[in-house]
């Protein structure tokens, strides 16, 4: 290189060495050519693609996608260097403590803080009057305040808060604050929430439903409702009671608020959804959003329990503003139970009808869910309890009534498998019963009723890839099902359960998706070659930073250690919806791929200039861009990068993702819409001690269709973790309330999360259906895997004991009660002599087997065909698959409001429709 080439416009001292080039920073000096085993068939590699190619195939460089990878922040965690909420220590910090209501429901008459304020070391005290604006995670139901404005609505509700120089002074000050209450009559039984009340827990103004505590009600009818009962030959009916459960994450809530000298607030908090806290803070503190920086610390488990903006976050900010010093609030475990947002206690009535050829001609679900004192995500939960069990099966009719009521309990909210878990359990147990009534194998029954890939559900959800069939087939083989089902001795059983879950909520909560993307990722690469990713996706331990890093690394052909993710601060990260609804991998990785593709293009153009090779011939490998026919022709990544940086410096790019338009137009049509859905099937093997009613799960075979395992290690971890969490709900976890409504077990000794002893061997089976819209084919794996474990265990308990349980958790006392009842019914003394279920196939079994095998072929044809013809739910019942049922048959009319005839004898949750909204009431006008 002559000095003339390098120094255009500049003169350099003779003899000086040319500018040196910065090092690559890669793991080793020499790049390797692409690993042919990881390159998809469609690109001439050896990676098999039985379901065809994917639009991202050409981006596969063999760097990291599909390889088991330790999470990029794992070393921080295992060495104890990760800072969680309570690890944030700022100079001069104060400790905040919260004054909580001792009453379930009361009017706050007065708060006297004089004595507390006089205590030495107390710096600031705040009450409801310091922040009167309301907030809430959903814009339609902003019903929370930083602290009580007029009423406290559950025991543990916030009344005031204190900031003091240390914890003991803060606690003493809490004791010294005098609050005068007028106790109101509280309600604890969700059924009472359906009635009119003298003092409804909230007032929704003209939208209030009667004078009741009904917060949200849903009525839906799809399909041929009139024929479902006449056509049915088998009916399942059950009334379920599901106890409320808490997320039980390891890290209790903790928050630090600090106002800096320029007047800006930084809030350090382990949040799943920093952006919503950002918005809520602006509303409550009445300052513009640009004055606030929400800093997400490491999150010690979220599971949905850290996705609401929380009152204590507001309290910390208010106290910090009042005191002019940083304020830290850390919860103890009891306070975690007061803020709750766990799974709703529910009463679900499930009716399933099957016709003479083993088709599911109707599902009728009635779900009453106990929302506790606040709305939280409840609006959505009410829909999810219904609409999320309209797949994977093809249905002749679907009737759903749902209601969410306020009670004076800690608020329920979103928890892993949001809204889908309880009703899914009821459906899958129902199918087991239907199979028994029809004398067919329950797996065969399911295989003969699956919706095909690229179809629409009865409610109009657009389904893309489906790996359900493969999930069922694989767990059947792995568990040795045919040798065990209905063949094990009394007390030993095996059961199947399936799941279906959204892979990213289709509609952003706070903005119009036509105008603003769901997810945005920015990239920046400077001279050093390292790639900085700016994303707002919140890594809550699920590995979102890793998956975004993997996606970028793959597209650019770089090792993971050249990627750094900046996702913590709202100051530097683009707006993102946050980590909920299993949306992060699908949406953020797609956005990251788009951003990386732009940079990849720049690099290839630069490489083409240097090598004088046509752009089309160049491919990206490990830190090298080269001619695919002659790898000797090529340049290193850094050379290409520096060439691309000429005249512009650091390369930057931006990518975003938004969902395609989808769904139908009826009221509530958007609830449950997602760009893709995950599917799973589990088999559980259990032992039931017939004399004590205690259940032990021995082994689980867990197949989950995650589209494509970007990081198989992480997917397996999610499957095993989901099993553990679901086992808790099905076997032992329960928020136990006394008759008077006291939460009896707000601690981890009596809130019984399964220990290592209760954990069975879980055999994760990854099914890859290769979703055409997912990043590299991926869908979610974080929530869906929880769903099937509950019904799988319930059905296994039935196989073992002949007891159809309909109350969770299946603790020893509950199951024993049923065993006793059965003994009494059969006039037996010894439960060890009870008969256990047996199975002799009816003629229907072969019909179903034939149908399943035809459908299997149908499904594969649909996957491999270029043109995806429409398939609407109903084709199995003789309808034209090209059109939705209601567009071809008047009997399939969609209804979202009950008629008067229904209201004569409504079901439990359906009775919420007896009330008339205030704005429509003549007696009030």
């Amino acid at each position: 290189m002559s000095s003339d080439d390098e120094m255009v416009g500049y003169r350099q001292q003779p003899g000086k060495l040319p500018f040196s080039r910065p090092g690559s920073g890669g793991k080793n000096q020499f790049s390797k050519l692409r690993d042919i085993e990881l390159i998809p068939e469609s690109q001439g590699g050896k990676k098999l693609q039985p379901r065809g190619g994917h639009r991202h195939d050409k981006l596969i460089s063999g760097s990291s996608i599909g390889k088991s990878t330790a999470l990029i922040d794992s070393k921080w965690k295992v060495t104890g260097k990760a800072n969680y909420g309570d690890d944030i220590r700022l100079n001069n910090e104060l400790i905040g403590k919260i004054v909580r209501s001792p009453h379930h429901y009361a009017r706050v008459l007065s708060i006297n803080v004089t004595k507390a304020m006089e205590l030495e070391g107390v710096i600031a005290i705040a009450t409801g009057s310091d922040a009167k604006n309301s907030f809430g995670v959903l814009p339609v139901t902003k019903d929370e305040h930083a602290m009580a404005i007029e009423k406290v609505r559950h025991k543990g509700d916030l009344v005031a808060c204190v900031a003091a120089v240390d914890e003991s002074i803060a606690l003493e000050a809490v004791r010294l604050i005098e609050v005068e209450y007028e106790v109101l009559e509280s309600i604890h039984d969700m059924r009472k929430g359906l009635n009119d009340s003298k003092n409804p827990i909230h007032d929704r103004g003209e939208y209030h439903i009667g004078e009741s505590n009904v917060q949200k009600r849903v009525f839906q009818e799809f399909g041929n409702i009139s024929q479902m009962i006449p056509n049915s030959v088998a009916n399942h009916k059950s009334n379920w009671i599901f106890a409320g459960v808490n997320h039980g994450f390891t890290e209790p809530h903790a928050v630090v608020a600090n106002w800096d000298p320029s007047g800006r607030l930084t809030l350090y908090t382990p949040q799943q959804v920093p952006h919503y806290v950002h918005r809520a803070l602006a509303d409550v503190l009445q300052i513009p959003m640009h004055q606030i920086n929400v800093y997400r610390t490491f999150v010690g488990g979220g599971f949905g329990g850290k996705s609401d903006p929380f009152p204590h976050e507001m309290c910390a900010a208010i106290l910090a503003r009042k005191s002019g010093r940083p304020v830290r609030i850390t919860f103890d475990r009891e306070e975690v139970f007061w803020v709750n947002r766990g799974r709703h206690p529910s009463r679900i009535e499930m009716d399933i009808h099957a016709d003479s050829v083993g088709r599911l001609c109707g599902v009728q679900t009635d779900a009453l869910i106990d929302g506790g004192a606040f709305a939280s995500f409840g609006h959505v939960t009410t829909y999810y309890n219904g609409v999320l069990h309209t797949a994977p099966y093809e249905l002749g009719a679907f009737h759903y009534t749902g209601a969410r009521v306020w009670t004076n309990k800690p608020a329920s909210g979103a928890m892993r498998g949001h809204g889908a878990v309880n009703s899914r359990c009821a459906v899958e147990v129902g199918l087991d019963d239907i199979a028994e009534q029809l004398s067919v194998d329950p797996i065969t029954l399911r295989l003969a009723n699956l919706l095909p890939p690229y179809s629409a559900t009865i409610t109009g959800f657009r389904i893309t890839s489906i790996g359900m069939r493969e999930c069922l087939e694989r767990v059947k083989i792995a568990s040795d099902w045919d040798k065990k089902f209905r063949k094990l001795p009394l007390g030993h059983g095996i059961g199947i359960g399936c799941g279906f879950f959204i892979s990213g909520s289709g509609l952003p909560i706070h903005w119009d998706p036509n105008k603003f993307p769901h997810a945005t990722v920015h990239l920046k690469i400077d001279m050093d070659g390292g790639v900085t990713i700016h994303t707002g996706a919140a890594d809550i331990g699920q590995g979102s930073d890793t998956v975004v890093a993997q996606s970028v690394a793959e597209v650019l052909g770089l090792p993971l250690d050249m990627i750094r993710v900046r996702s913590r601060e709202t100051d530097t990260s683009p707006v993102d919806l946050g980590s909920y609804s299993s949306r992060v991998t699908f949406m953020n990785a797609n956005a990251a791929i788009s951003a990386a593709m732009e940079i990849r293009k720049d690099l290839i153009v630069a490489a083409s200039k240097i090598t004088n090779t046509e752009i089309e011939k160049l491919i990206v490998g490990d830190r090298r861009i080269f001619d695919k026919k002659d790898p000797a022709i090529g340049v290193s990544y850094l050379e290409a990068l520096h060439k691309a940086q000429e005249d512009r410096g650091a390369l930057t790019s931006s990518g975003s993702y938004r969902t395609p338009p989808m769904g139908r137009a009826h009221k509530g049509a958007a609830a449950g819409l997602a760009p893709a859905y995950s599917f799973s099937a589990y088999v559980a093997e259990v032992k039931v001690d017939m004399e004590t009613g205690q259940t032990k799960v021995l082994e689980v075979w867990a197949a989950h269709d995650c589209g494509k395992a970007l990081n198989p290690l992480s997917v397996k971890g999610q499957i095993i973790g989901s099993c553990h969490m679901g086992l808790g709900q099905v076997l032992s976890e329960e928020m136990k309330y006394s008759r008077a409504g006291q939460l009896l077990n707000p601690d981890l000794l009596d809130y019984k999360i399964p220990s290592i002893h209760e954990m069975p061997k879980v055999n994760p089976i990854i099914v890859e259906s290769n979703d055409l819209e997912g990043p590299f084919g991926a869908k979610e794996a974080g929530e869906g895997p929880l769903l099937p474990i509950l019904p799988a265990v319930c059905n296994a308990v039935y196989d073992a004991s002949g007891i159809r349980i309909n109350e969770l958790p299946i603790t020893g006392d509950r199951l024993y009660k049923e065993i006793e009842k059965k003994c009494k019914k059969l006039k037996m003394n010894d439960p060890l002599n009870l008969p256990n279920p047996s199975l002799k196939y009816s003629d229907l079994q072969s019909t179903l087997l034939n149908r399943a095998s035809e459908h299997s072929k149908r499904d594969m044809d649909r996957i491999l065909s270029e043109e995806k013809t429409p398939y609407h739910n109903g084709a199995l019942f003789g309808m034209n698959p090209e059109l939705p049922g209601d567009e071809q048959d008047s009997r399939w009319e969609i209804r979202v409001v009950p008629d008067e005839e229904y209201l004569i004898n409504p079901r439990l949750a359906g009775s919420a429709w007896k009330h008339v909204e205030r704005r429509k009431r003549s007696d009030l006008s």
Partner: protein, 324 residues
Amino acid sequence: MPPFKLHTPSSLDEAFEIVKGLKAENLDYDWIAGGTDLLPNYKWHINTKPHVISLSKIKILNKISKNHIGAMARLYDLSQSSEIHPLIAKSASLVASVMIRRSATLGGNICLDTRCFWFNQSEEWRESIDYCHKCDCGTGADCRVIPNQNTLCVATYQADLAPVLMCLGSTIHMASPEGERSVPMYDFFKLDGITKNILLEDELVTHITLPNDISDWEGDYQKLTQRDSWDFPEAGVAVSWKKGVTGPSEIRVATTGIEPIPRFHAEESQRILDTWSGENSVEELAESIRKSVKPVLNTWFQPSYRRKMVKVLSRRASKGLLEM
């Protein structure tokens, strides 16, 4: 946790000197052994004291041998010991979790405080129900389990070792500044969830001794819990027996986890010994034990279930009786 001053005497005499000093100043205190029961209660502000005297440095209390176990013997060491009776080792190995067993002691387990949903809660929680009889904080509060009676506390005794030690005929030894004394284990407990046992003010358990014929005794201990780890027993039954020529020559049964104190069932066991007829006798014994216990609703499982399970546990713990 409320602050307290910790004393760590290295002999019993030194400990009693400290006690005298505290008494002179009218200061309240608690003994602390492994701390796995006391400290969680302190964290919840339950009956806290300004002074705590630790027994951990008093070497004499650590001894473990066939006939003598010191109050400070760790449950983990008991569970691993080949010297002591296997039934003691078994029941020690079933207590809580391995982490707790590393710290928890024999004396602490015997003297475990009784437990109740209305008592084992934080201060704020208890305040919201206006406290309860067992920790009334000066309010004179009523019992929350069985209202309208504030004479007897029905909190449940949920420790595993006492029934086994009763069944093995152990004697418990105590010491206080006034001197030493000992009683059979089955006389140690005193019916009431607050008083719990006969320990006088300033008195502590020093050790237990086991009779010389200990090796002739066999037995079993069965407990009911939700989980295999951590949980306190919701019911526990110990059965022991001595082999005779045609059947057992002696039988002892004791229960725990059901009532405010562990119970030694002398009458019931004597009755079936007198009319021993094998399997039927075991059934009869199990039924009589079930009938004699009266659990209340203050722990995880329903009382009716716990009572029924006492029968199952009795039957299972008696299995060895039929293998003679």
